[in-house]
Subunit: 290 residues, 2 copies
């Protein structure tokens, strides 16, 4: 599975860089955009979209611009979240954050660019019908906007210094990370030809997948191996960040994760998708050690 | 004409507020979005779209979501441009800027929200066909993105402290304001049913209109009446900002503006659009005193 993920990462990276060169001009702004898009990351969201598509279709891939757009929206959100006025982070994945490597103004505009380009790229894709483009733009903007990802970030900041309960934490993660992850799975299914009742189930599974990944992230910050993770453990503790292990204990967090794993399994069973690439990828990611 | 503009402003405002209520949840983020959308402004861009549509069609209006989306994208750009890391402005139109009234993080997210919502709104509009939605999203994202408005802002910041020549100033304005103004006119024409060869001409006219408005802005900052403008004059001088009167002298700036007025007139004549609402609106705005 690790090898599969690495292989997929290669084509995704290639597509990402190609689109950035097409949609930007040479110069500092492109350099800043490229810097953050190159800064590693598992390309988990595009991968989930591809795996879902492959689980329900053997047609040729039509998800590429949607997958790249999704990764761009994800990266824009990281650049803006890292800004001094937001989470004020100097490092991400061991590298300087965008505003540290460049400057704040450039980082703001690089994020704005990525968000805007993602919609341009989808509408310019010659392999999609107009109806498909409209579906993707609508779902992506709804997932990323003020009833989705942005509201998650807003809540996150407003609850930073407060005692958070599990319900609030769940709401934050459902919006902040769950909506884009659900988008990746729903869009993969949509482009594979699934109908609205199946997409509704995938949306529900996607929300659960977002929570699984977040809880596993929190667990790894307690039990993880620094070498495998490539980052220090225990940073949530020192950051006073609310996490599942803090609110529920380590065992409680693992049980919470299992609950969502069962939700996902049951939905995939209904869709007759046991043992498919998406089922395997989710299961692998939920047990991951890095 | 002033009365016509005021009447139009009313329906545009109403539509803007309705959409924000639909697409956001109650709370601080919505308040911040609403604050900047309510902060006045002439609604010039939506107005130009409507006037262009009315000049070439007597069908019922289908431009409303595109017009509101455009105003949202314009407002997002103002919120981000005012940020401390960018132009660092405390006031806009006599009111506190968004980050002064709220805070920087909220202002960044309010801008991000408006940009994202604009695309969501277009794709959700039941009065447009999928082809129309794709056209509008593609044109708007291209106009607003890193080969359009954002690149204009990037250039503007990079040339702030340098001696700017007229060519550079023109490039900045063509991107920073010209592209969205061209979008308003082109989209009005497109929705009215004009074909690609006419839209190409409108795009050219739109770029010229952007420059006319910018030059008139610069001229008013020298010759304007503080009472009519509702803001102090001479602020460009004290800001060390590059302007047309500074580079060409007041007479030179007026001549430059006339050059673009002739371009616009000649294009509108080719399109048999003399004396139409869009011709009158452009002519009024180019002579405006406020």
């Amino acid at each position: 599975m690790k090898k599969y993920i690495q292989e997929q990462k290669d084509w995704i990276d290639k597509e990402v860089y190609k689109r950035i060169e097409e949609l930007t001009e040479e110069g500092r702004l492109r350099d800043a955009i490229m810097y953050s898009m190159e800064a590693g990351g598992k390309r988990l969201r595009p991968l989930l979209m591809k795996a879902t598509f492959d689980s329900f279709s053997s047609e040729k891939p039509v998800y590429i611009s949607a997958a790249v757009a999704l990764e761009m929206v994800h990266t824009y959100s990281l650049i803006h979240d890292d800004l001094p006025a937001m989470d004020d982070d100097d490092l991400r994945r061991g590298q300087k954050t965008n505003h540290k490597e460049f400057d704040e103004a450039t980082a703001i505009l690089a994020g704005d660019s990525l968000l805007t380009m993602s919609f341009e790229m989808i509408t310019a894709d010659a392999h999609l019908t107009s109806d498909q483009k409209v579906f993707i733009v609508q779902q992506l903007s709804a997932a990323a906007g003020p009833k989705g990802m942005v509201s998650g970030q807003m809540w996150d900041m407003q609850h930073e210094d407060l005692e958070t309960d599990v319900e609030t934490l769940k709401t934050i993660h459902l919006n902040k990370t769950g909506r884009l992850i659900a988008f990746s799975i729903v869009t993969g299914g949509y482009l594979a030809g699934l109908q609205e009742n199946s997409l509704k189930k995938l949306r529900e599974a996607g929300a659960a997948v977002g929570l699984i990944f977040q809880i596993q992230d929190d667990i790894l910050d307690v039990t993880g191996d620094k070498e495998k993770l490539g980052k220090p453990v225990g940073s949530d503790e020192s950051n006073k960040k609310s996490t599942y292990p803090k609110l529920l204990g380590l065992e409680g967090a693992k049980q919470e994760k299992q609950k969502y794993e069962k939700t996902v399994e049951s939905i995939l069973r209904e869709l007759e998708a046991e043992g498919t690439p998406v089922a395997e990828l989710i299961s692998y990611m939920s047990q991951r050690e890095y």
